[in-house]
Symmetry: C2
Subunit: 221 residues, 2 copies
């Protein structure tokens, strides 16, 4: 039995990732991080609901405030406004948490080493166009080299990024085809009750559903 | 003015690192992590004392429990015994926290990106002989590549490891030559009041002082 540690935020992308890994026959160990993001509680609820749906028993929720303490991002700094989406902009948005994925992958690697997992799966999407440097192929390959040199493993621990070159439209279609519980997920950066529909994350999600020809099951304000 | 983020545990090695960076004309921003280690409070006290001594005003203490939650190490798992030192063994000791340095460097990089620092300095010592894979040159070079690919920086952010090829004897001598406050540092993995003298960390420190021809200013049980 092959084991994948899947990073699951409770959002649509990572839920589709989990569905893909399960579909490929992996046992999934689900890792969820609370790093002080604005919609933390709502995301954790979504994570638990999705894990219940998939009958994933091996779960770990980690609370860590360090990215919030370090600051510099509107995702974690409550004094910064979440910018409204500009999907055509080349600028790195204020929701960027410096080196966030490296922090997340470092935690995932520590857990994967303890579990002797085969893979770490992260639902990064390059097409988001948001310009996050730690969402690029070369970053993940560099991180794998860091794992190879920095762990005491008998077999290589790889990072899989099944969504990296998918569009949101393809992600929606894949999720629906695999029966992923998209109605249980949460993507909004701004609100916890009703999704705002205006932040980067909402805008990308809504456009993905629209292009896929499906209606997003979540309510929007 | 060049800025170095120096990882400072409150131990001897990282204190000597800070002394070396200050001696080289860097402004030092001091980063201390509480990750659930057994002697956390004692180490934090040592960190503050050392920073006060050096008049370092830019300090960040981060509490993160994730390495403890993940477990697998006698440094953070209170149900595991801290092994007595066997400095001639090739085995990875039970005090190994999986991928610890990667987690630490990821946090340091996030802060360094916010501060626009020039360097991250970490007091890793390969000679410790404890076989930690994330204390090797190739690991640090791989991590630099991860930084290059995963951050949005205008200039390269490098990792300096000034102690990597030094013996403990040389570290003691360097610290004394630079006037580093070794009497304020704490190295013991086991105890917080009087150092045990028997854990890996104590054994290496004591041997270093002995070979340097100096007496360790700390009391031992």
């Amino acid at each position: 039995m092959k084991l994948a540690v899947v990073l699951m935020s409770g959002g649509m992308d990572s839920t589709v990732c989990a569905a893909m890994m399960l579909d490929q026959g992996y046992t999934v160990a689900a890792l969820h991080l609370n790093y002080g993001q604005r919609t933390q509680e709502r995301e954790t609820q979504a994570f638990r609901d999705v894990c219940d749906h998939f009958h994933i028993s091996q779960r770990l929720e980690i609370d860590t405030q360090h990215l919030q303490v370090i600051g510099g991002s509107s995702l974690t700094d409550m004094d910064m406004d979440v910018a409204k989406a500009d999907l055509d902009s080349d600028e790195i948005p204020t929701s960027y948490v410096p080196f966030r994925n490296a922090n997340i992958l470092a935690m995932a690697t520590s857990w994967a080493e303890v579990l002797k997992a085969d893979l770490i799966t992260i639902g990064a999407v390059q097409e988001d166009g948001s310009g996050y440097p730690d969402c690029r192929e070369e970053f993940f390959r560099a991180f794998e080299q860091t794992i190879r040199t920095g762990t005491a493993l008998d077999k290589p621990l790889l990072i899989s990024t099944p969504l990296l070159y998918m569009t949101k439209e393809e992600i929606v279609k894949t999720g629906i085809a695999l029966g992923a519980p998209l109605h249980l997920t949460w993507s909004c950066y701004q609100n916890s009750a009703v999704a705002c529909g205006e932040c980067d994350s909402c805008a990308l999600r809504l456009r993905g559903f629209e292009r896929a020809g499906h209606k997003d099951p979540l309510p929007y304000s």
